[in-house]
Symmetry: C2
């Protein structure tokens, strides 16, 4: 590698602060969701995404940034279905696809859990931020997320080594 194998101290500091802050935030968020709705963060995201999308998505659409393996989504969908929060059925457009639909109970649960969820985000994340800060944070994270999403999924991975 031609590049030096280090980040500037500022970058390193930003990186660790980011990771730790989000870890703390996620931990509190999970606690709130579990306590008030018996949901994991992933399950909440799946439901919220459905609620946002007219209530129906295919499994693949649903998986997008939330889950990193097909079987993981099947597992989570199984739990949500068992709990009566979603329904799975065949898709008219593509017979391979499964269409996931949020139930009334699912939508109600999201609505019930949301206020507390929002309160956690506000008190932990937004409390120390000014309006300008929020703008900047949103701008930065939106750009970063876009960059990450656009990256070649794994073509940049190191060429497969021959030594197993």
């Amino acid at each position: 590698m031609a590049e030096p194998a280090s980040l500037a101290p500022k970058q390193l500091g930003a990186y660790f602060a980011l990771m730790e802050a989000v870890s703390l935030l996620q931990h509190e968020v999970e606690k709130q969701l579990r306590a008030e709705g018996d949901l994991s963060w992933i399950q909440f995201q799946l439901l919220a995404r459905l609620a946002d999308s007219d209530g129906r998505l295919t499994m693949t659409e649903l998986a997008d940034g939330v889950v990193y393996s097909r079987s993981g989504l099947t597992y989570q969908a199984g739990l949500l279905e068992k709990a009566g929060l979603i329904t799975r059925g065949p898709s008219p457009d593509d017979e391979r696809a499964t269409l996931v639909t949020i139930t009334e109970a699912g939508a109600a649960l999201v609505a019930r859990v949301l206020p507390g969820h929002v309160e956690v985000a506000r008190s932990l994340l937004f409390d120390p931020l000014s309006d300008t800060d929020v703008d900047r944070l949103g701008d930065l994270m939106t750009r970063i997320r876009g960059h990450m999403r656009a990256l070649p999924p794994r073509s940049a991975a190191p060429r497969k080594r021959r030594t197993p």
Copy 2:
């Protein structure tokens, strides 16, 4: 609650972008650490923290923002010890405490894994950011982390309900 149970759209957008971006970043980081050093992110953090702190810390000091239960740390320390990356021994100052020491192998592993790790952070996180952006991100996340760390651990939790 006197406050409206919603976040401004800007806040909501920033929140979800933050959570998704870090989720993507963490996933790639874990892949790199697993591939190049057979380490989880948590294990890497523990080793890195030790390497940063003259090589020895008590379990409690080590746990700080990294792990959220005592037994979880004992479990991870057990793995690291079994792999020869750390050593555990009694503390001279407090006989209740366990003093964790990083081994040469542990320090070497951190050194071996670090370049790839840094490269992931650079390409995913810092690539789309200007110097000013990095400053702002660092400032924001440092403040947010400080705010979260300062919060009353759980005294703000809703008073225990009487209905179990």
